[in-house]
């Protein structure tokens, strides 16, 4: 048998096993190849590795053709307008019709793109963002009853990890050099500061309430809720692309809408729908906190579920305080 035929046989048997459809005779044939041929073992490992990569890419949504086709359709809209300009030279009336149609469609497309971004943001995928304060609020006295370091006042340089609903970790550096962690997993929430005790509660919003709950000072850090609100309460438009790999939208809060930042700019990857950068301007300041801030995507690589449990962030003998 030639090397090519060997490879074809190995590939077929390997893929049957990896896709769970090999019968016993096929398993035996593959076993024999792996037992006797080092080249077969090497090639099998490469096939298994590619299968593993596709599993991960698939789970991350990277294979979704509809996303790609969807955004290609948006790109086609731009090409259509180019074509329309050329057509205008030959037939102004036709071009004018196309142009008007294009202009009428454009806001709808921006909203549709936003729908996609919101949908992707709802997926159970790990994302890690850095937080930067662009404009601090006026130096008012911090709200009382929140300890010496109100969460909203120490967001510059913080890091936010998110995954599924209720799964987050926010890491803040405090002025005294300590690190404060807020976190939530699917069974509740927790917080710890410096080397102090870990406070744990079955209430998923108990410790992150100041930051994540809709009435909190900086509720915008709950991206899912915030993005969902965008659809209802904001006017959305495309902004010029800064690079072919990134699209940019701007959302301006409607006059009658209450709460949330007045203006949001978001950059997203058209291939994946993942937000890469988000700027929130003119935030409501009921209880302190910054005026404007920026989130920048650091990573969307997966993290284990355990990362969102408090045990992953402290030594085993740290005191645990259970709260309601």
């Amino acid at each position: 048998m030639s090397k090519l035929e060997d490879n074809q046989e190995l590939d077929d048997l390997a893929l049957r096993v990896l896709h769970g459809i090999a019968d016993e005779s096929e398993q035996a044939a593959l076993r024999q190849l792996l037992r006797t041929k080092p080249d077969a073992r090497h090639r099998f490992v490469l096939q298994a590795t590619q299968h593993a990569m596709l599993c991960r890419e698939g789970a991350a949504g990277s294979l979704a053709a509809d996303k790609r086709l969807y955004f290609e359709r948006l790109e086609d809209d731009g090409q259509g307008r180019t074509w329309a300009r050329k057509a205008w030279l030959a037939a102004a009336a036709v071009a004018a019709t196309l142009l008007v149609a294009s202009l009428l469609l454009r806001p709808t497309d921006a909203m549709a793109a936003l729908e996609r971004v919101v949908q992707v943001a709802q997926e159970t995928v790990t994302r890690c963002y850095s937080v930067r304060v662009l404009e601090a609020g006026p130096p008012e006295a911090p709200a009382t009853g929140r300890g010496p370091y109100p969460p909203a006042n120490h967001l510059d340089g913080a890091t936010l990890w998110m995954k599924g609903p209720g799964e987050f970790v926010l890491r803040q550096g405090l002025p005294n050099g300590e690190i404060r962690l807020f976190g939530g997993d699917r069974s509740g929430s927790w917080t710890m500061r410096g080397l102090g005790p870990v406070k744990v509660s079955p209430d998923p919003t108990r410790f992150g309430r100041a930051i994540f709950a809709p009435s909190g000072e900086v509720a915008f850090l709950d991206l899912r809720t915030q993005l969902s609100r965008l659809k209802a309460d904001y006017d959305v438009e495309w902004l010029d692309d800064e690079s072919p790999d990134v699209r940019k939208l701007r959302a301006v809060r409607q006059r009658q809408a209450q709460g949330g930042p007045k203006e949001i700019e978001l950059w997203f990857d058209p291939a994946s729908g993942v937000i890469e950068r988000l700027i929130l301007r003119q935030l409501p300041r009921n209880n302190g906190g910054p005026r404007s801030l920026e989130l920048v995507l650091l990573s969307s690589d997966p993290l284990p579920d355990a990362f969102f449990r408090h045990e992953s962030h402290h030594e085993p003998d740290r005191p645990i305080l259970l709260e309601p």
Partner: protein, 174 residues
């Protein structure tokens, strides 16, 4: 090192090594669900053992020792395996998988590039199979086709990717 520093360092190292460790697990267990569960367990074990990690060693090489142990343990516990293997063959396969680990980052990058070159049909069949881990038979049922027809379509797309990645990396097929 304070716990938050330690966890950040661990997270950074684990996230970078995760594709390689997951590929290694798949090479030995041949089952997605098992690989998914084992990578979670591996993360927990590595985290608990992290104080013992010698930073002069590559993290992925350190992790592979644990991944190998977990894979073997998992195989011993199964009443039915996707591919039963004798110990000598399994050891030889583990060695081959270990040798392949250093090239995984470049392979993943090439694969992502090659995914863009697939036809829409190829990409769609891979999406159906891999996005929610839908079994071949379920895809066939939904599409009113035979499982063999679906398998052939998946195989064709998989091999197109494999050839593209091999060309991109400038390798000849083993």
């Amino acid at each position: 090192m304070s716990p938050p520093d330690s966890h950040l360092r661990f997270t950074k190292l684990f996230v970078a090594a995760q594709p390689s460790l997951y590929g290694y697990l798949m090479s030995l267990v041949h089952d997605r669900q098992a690989a998914d569960e084992l990578i979670q367990e591996l993360a927990e074990r590595l985290w608990h053992k992290f104080p013992d990690y010698d930073a002069s060693r590559p993290f992925v090489a350190w992790g592979i020792g644990f991944a190998r142990y977990l894979s073997m343990e998992w195989r011993r516990q199964q009443r039915r395996l996707p591919l039963p293997l004798d110990d000598a063959t399994l050891e030889a396969l583990a060695e081959a998988a270990e040798q392949d680990v250093p090239a995984q980052d470049a392979r993943l990058e090439a694969l992502r590039d090659c995914l863009r070159k697939l036809t829409d049909r190829q990409r769609e069949i891979l999406r159906q199979r891999y996005e929610d881990s839908t079994p071949v038979a379920a895809i066939a049922d939904a599409a009113q086709r035979t499982p063999m027809a679906v398998y052939k379509a998946i195989k064709q797309a998989h091999l197109a990717l494999f050839d593209c990645v091999t060309r991109r990396l400038g390798h000849t097929s083993p």
